[in-house]
């Protein structure tokens, strides 16, 4: 088994082939095209370079892409948080890969929003400083900030021990990991503290994740002015769509990573089968939602509404709709279903063959949610056809180049697999010796800062909401800073040393009375040895006793590897 060898886990960090550099270079070129080519060109020449128009599609491929990327970002943290809360050990190594997907696609989505608005120079400042409480765009800015900050905090804390191990094990870029570990020294208290904090972060972040995609549903669903959008169903529909998109995206990413790093033992076929079963189930559910929506739109709906859905199924968009639905949902569903129902089949390839068309089909449906409504306005204007220009497509492609670049960089810089607990560095960082009185002081300090942050965070959010109609107050800036404030609490919990633990107290007493160090008091001995022990036998003995005494059993269970 490779899981005894840490180099298997850290494969991406240890060796980088020319292929990786080539991929990075190509992706970087694409990203540069996005930022320095397309974005700047559009900034100076206006959106006429796209295919959009006022009487016609005023939103086009890039909005479809924003919805798609937000959808992909949905699932990373969902997988990670679910794995953590439900303790699904088999899927544990999926967590960080998925979290990176979240981080990357959310960033790419924000870049796309900046590429879609007419004045990216004003966009962030005005939304934050002059934000309108009733606008879905402001809600989206709020929830995206919340989600981005929250997932960064969550990702960092969940990765902190691994970064620490990297700083002890790796020879290259040690300074980076040492800086990122922020003084972590892997004492049992620290570990337990970290585990508990990360668990609570997972609990908090799940509803936030649902909120992000609901808001995107409401961007469309709250508009009675456009037929085909006004729909109470839109928010859950978007959340489900996000799960489908995100799962198919994550399946593809995991398959590529497994292929490149030959990590069959961490991502066995049966794991893919499990993902495939779930993906097939949500795809079926999405088809059901879709049917319900289309039936409502066609049956006896208002004329304009019927026009949209007729156009969708039988008109100019029918080829996208039918290709996406049949080729990208129904057929892949059966592929996944056949595998899921047959106990003999366990194959990564089948799942990937099912997942990739689903990803593209979802993109197609995002496009179909956005564009057709513009072709059936309530007032009979002369309309211009929408054909996305080369520029539109290059923006979309370049966004994915940026995402690939960012993702590859993350994989090459940070440990992408969780390092199991049995890896202990040969020369661990010695925790700083702090005097007992200082520890007590720090404990009070920690409680004070956390209470203060909590109070000011809630206060800022409350004040922001309270002053939402005041034109002179930058209400969104206030409540967003409140949210960011609250997200520093998990960091404070983990970074500031608190009150001295029982272990510390005992160690202190042991220094006072050396007689306590005799074996009949194993806990104290354990402490004395744990910090600088060299014998594995003693270490395991120490570990056993510490666990028994400090109630770390739950964590220990979670860290058992298949």
């Amino acid at each position: 088994m490779g899981d005894r060898d840490i180099s298997v886990y850290l494969r991406p960090l240890l060796r980088t082939t020319w292929k990786a550099y080539a991929l990075l270079a190509v992706a970087l070129a694409g990203a540069c095209w996005y930022f320095y080519g397309a974005f700047i060109y559009q900034f100076f020449h206006g959106h006429r370079v796209t295919g959009q128009g006022t009487h016609g599609a005023m939103w086009g491929t890039i909005v479809a892409n924003i919805v798609q990327l937000i959808g992909v970002s949905h699932v990373g943290i969902a997988i990670s948080a679910t794995v953590r809360i439900l303790q699904l050990k088999r899927y544990q190594q999926l967590a960080r890969i998925a979290e990176f997907v979240t981080l990357v696609s959310l960033t790419a989505a924000v870049c796309n929003i900046a590429g879609d608005v007419g004045r990216p120079d004003r966009f962030l400042y005005n939304v934050v400083m002059h934000g309108n409480f009733t606008a879905p765009f402001v809600w989206s800015a709020t929830v995206i900030t919340n989600y981005l900050v929250g997932s960064c905090v969550y990702l960092y804390l969940a990765m902190r021990r691994d970064i620490y191990l990297c700083s002890r094990v790796l020879t290259r870029r040690r300074w980076l990991y040492r800086a990122l570990a922020l003084g972590y020294s892997d004492t049992p208290e620290e570990r337990e503290n970290l585990e508990r904090t990360v668990w609570w972060c997972a609990v908090i972040i799940l509803p936030i994740m649902v909120s992000v995609h609901s808001v995107y549903g409401w961007v469309f669903g709250l508009q009675p002015g456009r037929p085909g959008w006004f729909n109470p169903f839109q928010a859950p529909y978007f959340v489900l769509g996000a799960i489908v998109t995100g799962f198919s995206g994550v399946v593809a990413v995991v398959a590529i990573i497994r292929r490149i790093y030959r990590w069959e033992q961490f991502f066995p076929n049966r794991l893919f089968k499990g993902l495939g079963v779930f993906l097939g189930f949500v795809t079926l559910l999405y088809l059901y939602f879709l049917f319900s929506e289309v039936l409502t739109g066609l049956y006896a709906s208002p004329e304009a509404e019927r026009g949209v859905f007729h156009d969708l199924l039988f008109g100019r968009f029918s080829w996208i709709a039918w290709t996406a639905t049949v080729g990208g949902m129904i057929v892949p569903f059966w592929v996944l279903f056949v595998q899921g129902a047959n106990p003999k089949i366990q194959s990564m390839k089948i799942v990937v063959v099912g997942a990739v068309p689903i990803f593209f089909a979802m993109w197609g449906w995002r496009y179909l949610i956005t564009v057709p409504s513009f072709f059936h306005p309530h007032i009979p204007y002369k309309l211009a056809e929408y054909s996305p220009t080369l520029f539109d497509w290059s923006l979309v492609l370049a966004t994915y180049c940026f995402a690939i670049f960012f993702y590859t960089a993350l994989v090459k810089l940070l440990p992408i697999l969780e390092l199991p607990e049995h890896f202990v560095p040969a020369r661990p960082v010695r925790p700083p010796r702090i005097r007992l009185a200082t520890m007590r002081g720090l404990g009070f300090f920690k409680r004070a800062t956390i209470s203060f942050t909590l109070a000011s965070g809630i206060g800022l959010i409350a004040y922001g909401i309270h002053s939402r109609f005041d034109v002179l107050t930058p209400a969104p800036a206030i409540w967003i800073s409140g949210i960011v404030c609250l997200w520093t609490i998990p960091l404070q919990v983990c970074l500031i040393p608190g009150f001295p633990s029982r272990r510390h107290m005992l160690a202190h007493r042991a220094r006072q009375e050396p007689a306590l160090l005799r074996p009949p008091r194993p806990l104290v001995t354990a402490v004395g040895l744990a910090e600088r022990s060299s014998s594995p036998a003693i270490e395991s003995w120490v570990d056993r006793h510490q666990r028994a005494h400090r109630g770390i059993r739950r964590r220990a269970r979670m860290r058992v590897w298949a």
Partner: protein
Amino acid sequence: MQKWGMVIDLDRCAGCQTCTVACRTENNVPFCGDGNAWKGRAIFWNKVITVRIESHGSQREGEPSASPGTNNHAGPRLRFLPMPCMHCERPPCVLVCPVRATTKSVDGIVMQVPSRCIGCRLCQASCPYSRRYFNWQEVDYPGTLKEAVNPDVSIRTLGVIEKCTLCVHRLQKAREQARDENREIREDEYVPACVEACPAKARTFGDLNNPDHAVAKLARSPRAFRLLEELGTFPQVSYLHESTWKSESRKSVGAEDEEEIDG
């Protein structure tokens, strides 16, 4: 406080587009340049569209035909529908604007602040009347038109939304004049350019809150209707027409032959 509103008599409208031209010159509406009109990017704060009405002889009883040319013949008739901003009482665009670039003023005008706008086009998407225009390209005033720019109205930049403001700069002027002379603003002092220019006197403008004013009387007339009343936006622009306006009977004509004005 006033509530400015407009009534447009469709039976008087001849489709001459004078209102459109007057609006363009008054408000410095930019030209969209070559190759943009056919992509639906031409900007019209006021646009006259041609609509086909399927007549079913639905003229109301007891009411004389307002325009002498119309008969109760079966078959479709062409109507011109001048479309300014509707200045809704419950405007969806104001709700969705993320930066408060569009607001409902106290006297009922839906305002647009182009220097605040970020160009997200949510208001455009939310407007059921599609009365908002995005600047898809740099502003262009060909030839001598550069010298004819109205100094009272600021020129919009690339990437922002613009729309009909009921010539609010005229209101500001009239209000200042009235303040100087220490009196209330008179009804006839403030009239938008399209109303002033209409040769057929199809447009009536004034304070809807003043029940004696012609506009309020006309807005209450049985011939009056508002566009898309079912959406609950309560437009302050109403139309007069001798037959009922049926949603199922309207259909665009001339999607191919309608002439767009572009530079």
